[in-house]
Amino acid sequence: MFARQQAAALMVIKGRLEASGVALIAIGSGSPEGARRFMDTLGFSADMYVNPDLSAYRAFRLERGIWKTLGPASLVRGIRAMMQGFRQGRPDGDLWQQGGVFVLGPGETLLFQHRNTSAGDHADLNAVLAAAEG
């Protein structure tokens, strides 16, 4: 559900990213088939990759844990997401792994970093745009 919410928000800013020559790349923890299904179902378009062993998530120091998914803050965010019309689909990937957003490149440049502290703790996309377009 939170991935769906995040995907929808990212599609809103994708046009501005493309206009600035910035690529949108997504990495998921599930299978390539799950990634394709996710993209087809939600109309989510990005350069999509998967990392089921979570090595890339660990390298970027992203959070993982059962209570980061099921804790009170996530439950409140989940209710809000449901009120916005988002629903939980069939999970494909690691249920306890949290996400994040980074602005990188070209080359050895890190311009923005956000690590979700718990499920639904998404990055401020205005800050993402400011970093990406700067």
């Binding site: 769906r4 998921g28 299904r37 890339a56 390298a59 992203l62 494909d92 949290q98 957003v101």
Partner: protein, 43 residues
């Protein structure tokens, strides 16, 4: 985290495209600026 620290941590890590091909993680932003989003599970 600085890029120097990240560079050490991502060395040797690859991700898999939906076409099944593996690519080096760091290669994704070598020649371009990217917004890299780590999703939770597909669901």
């Amino acid at each position: 985290m600085t890029y120097d620290e990240l560079k050490t941590r991502i060395a040797g890590i690859s991700v898999t495209g939906i076409d099944g091909k593996d690519v080096a993680l760091e290669s994704l932003w070598q020649g371009r600026r990217v917004v890299l989003v780590f999703l939770r599970h597909f669901g």
